[in-house]
Every structure is written in structure tokens, then in C-alpha cells.
């Protein structure tokens, strides 16, 4: 029962972050400070009054700030049953107490809860001074607060990014993203275009615009991987009213650009075709996604592919 998870599979990504937080958060960050504490000279009747008023199910017992035991409602019931409610709390409390240190990570407390089945763990410093108390509820609250902070931080980043062009005033503001693409690096093929797409979404581009840019840059990226001598560069310049994407390489150049733009024409090798490339649709796809496509190519200087998507004023 205690190991049961109350998370659906669709929030599995969150569970992973929750688990991460168990390692990131320290016990000091989630515990309750200055908990209700019983002193050694109190009677069980005093304890009953205090605990009953506070609606809690147990409390630590301390002498001069030092933790010496824990009194639970079970202990109170035992003293009532024995008719010895005027005895000192020290007679009925548990002396052997499981504790955690404030500097420990939350995961240590979770292990302790699983191992001992106790409901609360006193938190002590290096001198065994009581500084707080920790329940599973404290951990849940601490983790939820941390998740909330994560979310707010991400929203802030998104907000800042999407207001970049309003916040920074110049005659012409633009953001330039550059990526180096290696020849034959099929393993990372699509990584740059995925990053560009995510950056555009953060900047506030519509999903339609981000998708079109992603597809156009992907085709350009794969062209650099498949068809160049030494790979090349991708450069994306984002402005408020347009996105300019460029791919550069230093060869071998395209001998007949019109032929290269023909649907179905490809110079890809059999090996590359087996990987799913070489449909001869790359430039055709790009042309369908962008408002303007210009190819300049020569055997001496290599190829420069220039793609522009114009945006409505509201788009970025």
C-alpha cells in the first residue's frame, strides 16, 4: 500500500521529475520547523492536552533542545489503559528514535519511512539538537511546491522569450541561431532542426510556422549530411516579421539546379536510399514550406540555400 503510486502513466514524465526532486531537495527544505515539542518534565496528561489541541498524532520529546524520544498516540492510549496518566512522558515515550539529518536528501527520509513504518521522523543537526519534524505529507508538499517553482520558471522563460522583440528596442532586432552539421552524421540528423523548431515555439511562433520551418530546415540539414564534401552550417535569423533560414557548404556544388528541383530527381547512393533518404523531394518540400527559396551553387564555392518565411505582424 505504501508503495502504491497515485500517478497515471500519462504523468510519467512528471514522476521522473518527482523522483529527481527526491534526490535534489534536502530535508531542511521540506520539513516543518519548530514543531510542537514535549519537555521531559511533562506528564502524560500535559501531553494529551497539547497533542489533542494540535490535532497531531505524536510529538518529539526534548531536553534542553536535545532529542531524547518520541511520544505517539499509542503511548497515550497505553497510559490511559494503565490508569497512569499522571506519569512522566519519559516513562511511556519511545527512546530508540529513528531520525534524519537536515542536510540529508529527501530520498534518505523516503527510505527510512519505507524501512521503519513510522509516521514521522524527527530532524536533528550534527549535535542531535531537534530542529524539525518530517512527515510524508511534508515531503508531498515540498515536492509539489518545487514542481510549481519549475513550472513558473519555465513560464517565465517562455514569457521572456516570447516578448524578446517587444522588450528589446532597436531599428532592427534579430536573433541568430547557428548550427554546424557534419558530413555523414546520420546519427544526429534532424537534431538541429528539432532544436530550431523548439526555439521558435519558445519565441512565440505558431505551431504551423514552427512546423514549416522545422521541415524546411530538416531537408536542408539532411542535404548537408548526405550531399556535401565536408558538411556545412545552418543559420536561422529570426525577426519579428520574418524568419530567414540558410544552409551553407563548400562543395561539391549542384551542376544543374533546375534538375535538382525536379520532384523525384536524386543523386543519393543506394546506401543512403536504404536509410529512407533520396526521395528526390527535399527541395520540393522546402519550396512548399517557405515563401521564398533561392539556391546559389557553383563548383568553386559550394552551395548556399536561402529560405524565407514571412510572418504576420502578430506571429512573433
Amino acid at each position: 500500500m505504501s508503495n502504491q503510486r497515485f500517478f497515471s502513466d500519462s504523468s510519467a514524465a512528471r514522476v521522473t521529475r518527482t523522483e529527481e526532486l527526491a534526490y535534489e531537495l534536502s530535508i531542511a527544505q521540506v520539513m516543518t520547523r519548530d514543531p510542537l515539542t514535549l519537555s521531559v518534565d511533562m506528564t502524560m496528561r500535559d501531553a494529551l492536552d497539547l497533542i489533542g489541541k494540535s490535532k497531531i498524532s505524536g510529538a518529539p520529546v526534548a531536553r534542553d533542545g536535545e532529542l531524547i524520544g518520541v511520544l505517539s498516540t499509542d503511548d497515550l492510549i497505553r497510559s490511559l489503559r494503565d490508569g497512569r496518566i499522571d506519569r512522566k512522558v519519559t516513562e511511556y515515550m519511545t527512546h530508540e528514535v529513528f531520525t534524519v539529518r537536515e542536510t540529508d536528501q529527501v530520498v534518505e527520509a523516503l527510505k527510512m519511512f519505507a524501512k521503519t513504518k513510522v509516521g514521522r521522523l524527527p530532524v536533528v543537526d550534527a549535535e542531535n539538537k531537534l530542529i524539525g519534524i518530517l512527515t510524508k505529507g511534508d515531503i508531498s508538499n515540498g515536492v509539489l511546491n518545487a514542481l510549481q517553482r519549475d513550472l513558473e520558471a519555465e513560464e517565465l522563460i517562455r514569457y521572456r522569450a516570447s516578448h524578446l522583440f517587444e522588450d528589446i528596442v532597436s531599428d532592427r532586432t534579430s536573433l541568430i541561431l547557428r548550427y554546424t552539421i557534419k558530413k555523414d552524421d546520420f546519427l544526429h540528423g534532424g537534431a538541429a532542426s528539432n532544436r530550431i523548431k523548439k526555439a521558435l515555439l519558445r519565441l512565440g511562433a505558431s505551431s504551423q510556422v514552427a512546423r514549416k520551418c522545422g521541415i524546411a530546415v530538416y531537408e536542408a540539414e539532411m542535404n548537408l549530411i548526405i550531399h556535401t564534401n565536408h558538411g556545412g552550417y545552418l543559420r536561422v535569423e529570426v525577426e519579428q516579421n520574418r524568419i530567414v533560414m540558410e544552409a551553407y557548404d563548400d562543395g561539391p556544388g549542384i551542376p544543374d539546379i533546375n534538375k535538382a528541383r525536379t520532384p523525384g530527381f536524386s543523386t543519393a547512393s543506394a546506401d543512403v536510399r536504404n536509410k529512407g533518404f533520396g526521395a528526390g523531394m527535399g527541395l520540393v518540400n522546402i519550396n512548399n514550406c517557405v515563401d521564398e527559396m533561392v539556391i546559389k551553387s557553383s563548383v568553386e564555392n559550394g552551395t548556399n540555400l536561402h529560405m524565407t518565411i514571412s510572418l504576420d505582424k502578430a506571429s512573433l
Binding site: S8, S10, A13, G189, G190, G276, A279, M281, N285
Partner: protein
């Protein structure tokens, strides 16, 4: 149609991590073994049928927000491809059936949008 139903009806083998597939809705499908065609043709939240099993299918699916890929004729992706798919939350499924058979089965299940 949810992905759980598709996996059961087509008897597909799961290659990536277990998830709550009943919450993943598949509205449309696409079949091609040419990545550039998929780029133009496949819709977001769709299922893609292909014989290609290399890592590039994950990049394409991620870019297009394709939910799941059915890899046909028992073609086996390597571990790196599977790990990348897990990272990008793309579901990889395997079958011995052909592209043609799988497309037919999905059509019979009522997935007719593309």
C-alpha cells in the same frame, strides 16, 4: 481510436517503454519508406507505417509530432534508436506483417484520415 486498441487488434510488439497507451489518440495514419514524403504527408498525432528501422525515423517523427511508428516485416531498430525514441516519447511498435497488410488493418479499424 486509442493506441492501446491498435496494439491489441494488430498484435503489435512494443519496442519502447510501457506507457498509458489508452490515453494516446490516433486520428490518422501515413505509410511511406521515404522520409521526405513523410515530411510532407504525415499529420501530427498520427501513426506511421514503415519498413525503415534506423534512427532517422525518430528525428522525423519528433519533428512532425507523430505519436507512434509501426516498423513492419520484423525490421529491428538498434538500441540507440529505441533509447532516442524513449527520450522523444515516440512509441515504436514491431510486426511481421507488411506495410500493405498493416495499412489495411488500420483502415478496417476505421483510421481512414491521412
Amino acid at each position: 481510436m486509442n493506441l492501446q486498441t491498435i496494439i491489441e487488434k494488430l498484435n503489435l510488439t512494443l519496442l519502447t517503454e510501457e506507457r498509458d497507451f489508452s490515453s494516446i489518440q490516433i486520428e490518422s495514419g501515413y505509410q511511406s519508406d521515404l522520409l521526405s514524403c513523410v515530411m510532407t504527408g504525415a499529420q501530427p498525432q498520427s501513426i506511421w507505417i514503415t519498413l525503415i528501422a534506423n534512427i532517422n525515423i525518430v528525428a522525423v517523427a519528433s519533428l512532425l509530432e507523430i505519436s507512434a511508428i509501426i516498423i513492419t516485416e520484423n525490421a529491428q531498430p538498434n538500441q540507440e534508436t529505441i533509447s532516442r525514441a524513449n527520450m522523444e516519447e515516440i512509441v515504436l511498435l514491431s510486426t511481421s506483417a507488411s506495410n500493405f497488410q498493416v495499412a489495411g488493418q488500420l483502415w478496417d479499424l476505421g483510421i481512414k484520415d491521412h
